[in-house]
Amino acid sequence: MTPAPAITVAGSASIDGVSLFAPLVLTLEAAQWTCLLGGSGVGKSTVLRLIAGLETGADFSGTITASDSSPVAARVAYMAQDDLLFPWASVAQNVALGARLRGEQVDLARLDDLLRRVRLTDHAAKRPAELSGGQRQRVALARTLMEDKPVVLLDEPFSALDARTRADMQELAAELLAGRTVLLVTHDPAEAARLGHSIQVMTAGGLTAVAPPTEEMPRAVDDAATLECQAVLLRMLREGGQ
């Protein structure tokens, strides 16, 4: 993996002339987790998709730059709320998808290692339909890591999971994605408070930075400062939504 760059998004977006978000500047610090927290429809997923070079349906005027000036879109790995596993392929084939799509040799040692780290070695030959929701999302995480990209974009990847599985997944992702520049788009204040090295609340009025708890992430779910931060974030979301 090449060293993780910082990423800066600066600009505004509109859909059919109607403003989606006003001019904003969002910087993802190198090798840190940035949590972009907001309600539905404020354009937080649009920001993520712009960085990923995906279709957004919005007109964006502005720039997306990396601190090392190299192009961004080719250096991102993407994980969505839907695990996007292919039902016709095995777990191992799903994890190795990127190499297969590019016609490259699959790095089998790396594949084995990643399956072990997401605790799915025994399930490698199974189809996704045979797995639980948490296991499926672990396959998606392994597929994201298999890409070995310095920038990782997470679009509410844990929001469809039950509370316990979500907490487990947050810790696993924090451990495995260390050293990468991560953007986590979420609508869950607790998730942002646990995982953000920096937290940005996105509302119709724009971005507001919130100081995260001082403890190193992933923070304990019952940590007092984390719970307090969560409360602050929730209040901001509710006030911003008026």
Binding site: R49, A52, G53, L54, E55, A73, A74, V76, A77, Y78, A80, D82, L84, F86, P87, W88, A89, L97, G98, R100, L101, R102, G103, E147, L153
Partner: protein, 244 residues
């Protein structure tokens, strides 16, 4: 097995009513023969019927294979090229507005009385359902898959073969299952217009000689052939359809 019992019971019931109507009304056998007479005729003419069934079955199988290959190739071409879609799609829809049956005489004129005019007829009938079903599947790939592939720098070709085609296989399976029912109809239409072999020819011949019992025997054989073909296709496309 229990799934088949109600169907079997209903069939027997229908046959009983048929026989009752024939026995009670004393209809002449060339108007409506009873099921018992049809069964008797079927048994007596079994080698004749078998010979003609083999011909029709061969036409249908070749037609299915050719139609499937052509349909799949067309759908792939349409799905991977915008120009092909713009040029060919309207034409494809227009051909479906034409009564394909009306083409049977000209096919016989072009391809002769033998096997190939019937194969062509079967192909004409199943080509569109297969093409349309598979093409539809290829164009409805979940957007999330395509997003993911894009972030992985996949080429359009790789996306087609690794994602769009496998995601469209269930629709192709539906198209093929439909085709298995339609193909015998195509072959029989071809045989009606001009043939010296096949179940369609036999039905026409029997009808012309007032051998209505033989006509029924041939028709029911055709029905059984179609159902068997459909069941075989169902089985063959199970994995493709994503069924267990």
């Amino acid at each position: 097995m229990t799934r088949w019992l109600p169907a079997l019971a209903a069939t027997l019931f229908a046959l009983a009513i048929w026989q009752a109507v024939v026995s009670l009304t004393d209809l002449p056998r060339f108007i409506l023969p009873g099921p018992l007479l049809v069964a008797e005729t079927w048994w007596q003419s079994r080698w004749l019927i078998a010979e003609h069934t083999a011909v029709t079955a061969l036409e249908v199988l070749i037609g299915l294979a050719c139609g499937a290959v052509l349909g799949v190739a067309t759908a792939l071409q349409l799905a991977s090229s915008r120009i092909a879609r713009v040029l060919v799609q309207p034409m494809l829809v227009f051909t479906q507005a034409l009564p394909v049956f009306a083409l049977a005489p000209i096919l016989t004129l072009w391809l002769g009385y033998g096997l190939w005019s019937k194969v062509a007829m079967a192909v004409l009938i199943i080509y569109f359902p297969i093409t349309a079903a598979f093409f539809d599947g290829l164009m409805r790939t979940p957007v999330g898959y395509l997003d993911l592939a894009r972030t992985m720098q996949a080429s359009p070709r790789a996306v087609l073969w690794h994602i769009r085609v496998p995601a469209a296989l269930p629709q192709l399976a539906s198209g093929l299952r439909l085709a298995a029912v339609y193909a015998p109809i195509g072959a029989v239409i071809g045989e009606w217009v001009g043939a010296s072999k096949g179940l369609g020819y036999l039905m026409l011949l029997a009808n012309g000689r007032a051998k209505t019992d033989l006509m029924f025997a041939a028709m029911l054989t055709l029905g059984v052939l179609s159902v068997l073909l459909h069941l075989a296709m169902r089985r063959a496309t199970r994995r493709m359809a994503g069924e267990r």
